[in-house]
Amino acid sequence: MKAILKTVPLLTCSLAILAWPLRAAEVTVFAAASLTDALKAIAANYQKQSGDKIAFNFGASSTLARQIEEGAPADIFFSADEAQMNRLERGNLIDPATRKNLLGNSLVVVVPGDSMLRIQSASDLTNADVKKIALADPRAVPAGVYARAWLEKLQLWPAVESKVIPTENVRAALAAVASGNVDAGIVYKTDAAISRNVRIAYAIPRAEGPDIRYPIALVKGSPQPGAAKKFLNYLSSEEAGQVFAQYGFLLRP
């Protein structure tokens, strides 16, 4: 009984701590993992100017779309491909009037920093010395879907498919390459730029690769629609654009 009574202060303390973050108004942005570093930098600037707090949930766009479908409290969705945004629009979960393609990107083949592997074209991925290729899950995650579309277009996918190690999101594919546990990986150019432990072995020419677009939109039933709209506009501003460009993203007019 004493032991039960002892838990009462613990309960009070837990409740107090848990209730605390609920008071502060903040904008919750669900964004593709590849946007992590750029968005964090932009949000830091924005928070200083506006006083609004920006909270992020980074992950594979497909995972985030699924979370929003299940009712996760999001204000803004920033996807790495149109398929995931379309899925939410079809489900009437985003405000189509606010939807626009903000950024572009391109794919690169990366290898561990100390790797001797030379990759001069897509067909080199079928060589025997490339045994494992890390890829964001090509069945759902945008980075993997793009990579697969690229290889399918070149009719190399059947030869490469068995070498693919699917990862949860593009950053996990990058990490797998950086750790040296795989021979190569296909990630966005912007991801390769932030890691010191990988080397770009082959940059996929824009004409050869898929057209990579990052759509953004306000989520319907957003808990903070006013503040969210303001941040959404800020993301299209020149100031934010400069940061995106710094991280290697292409700005779409």
Partner: protein, 222 residues
């Protein structure tokens, strides 16, 4: 340790503790009913309570996701009361509570079964009502088993992964617990973060086991 890591550790301990407190009344009532009662459907209830212990945690998570998701009870709660469960800290609490309840019920139940019913009957003959007997005779005599069950439940809650990732996702500062953070950090190649959290887990586990031993030994001698 960074501020984010401290937040994750604090959050995990608090939600795990809160879940133990939340399941206590339910757990004790169930344990008592299963230990003393003899009613229709008892074995069915018993099986249902034990299910989360046997089912893969991810499967339990899926059941919770569907039940409390937008197309289930969660949609109703959200429309009527603007009360969000899935992918908030409440989902973490829900997952931890469901996953740790069987441990509390099982050990409290056997503790209640070991209490000599004669003592309860004597208290009744002396004029004590049902609630009074429960709180002054049964619970104190079963206290060791109950506290043991609470510690087990708390420890289980601290390490819960499968159900939590399904219903709450990994959102640092919102739903991230130590287990989720270790997994995500390793995925993203941030092994240093993961190892610091691993260290915290070891320390927490040590304290939990050590204090339960200490507590149980003291009760024995007193």
């Amino acid at each position: 340790m960074t501020a984010v890591e401290w937040q994750i550790v604090g959050f995990t301990i608090c939600v795990a503790a809160l879940s133990t407190v939340v399941i206590l009344p339910v757990g004790l009532a169930l344990a008592w009913a299963l230990a003393r009662g003899n009613w229709r459907g008892k074995s069915v209830v018993e099986t249902f309570v034990t299910l989360p212990l046997v089912l893969p945690p991810v499967a339990t998570g899926l059941i919770l996701l569907k039940t409390f998701g937008k197309h289930g009870l969660g949609g109703f709660l959200q429309d009527k009361f603007h009360f969000q469960v899935i992918f908030t800290w409440r989902a973490v609490l829900l997952a931890l509570s469901v996953m740790s309840l069987p441990l509390l019920v099982r050990s409290a139940r056997s503790a209640f079964e070991e209490v000599n019913p004669r003592l309860e009957q004597i208290a009744r003959t002396l004029g004590a009502g049902g609630w009074r007997v429960f709180f002054t005779i049964s619970v104190p005599l079963a206290a060791r088993g109950i506290v043991g069950g609470m510690l087990l439940a708390f420890a289980r809650a601290l390490g819960e992964f499968g159900a939590t990732i399904m219903v709450a996702g990994y959102m640092p500062g919102k739903t991230a617990t130590i287990s989720l953070a270790i997994f995500e950090n390793v995925q993203l190649g941030q092994d240093a973060h993961a190892c610091r959290l691993l260290g915290v887990s070891v320390v927490l586990a040590f304290i939990a086991v050590w204090s339960s031993e200490f507590f149980l030994r003291r009760r024995k001698t007193s």
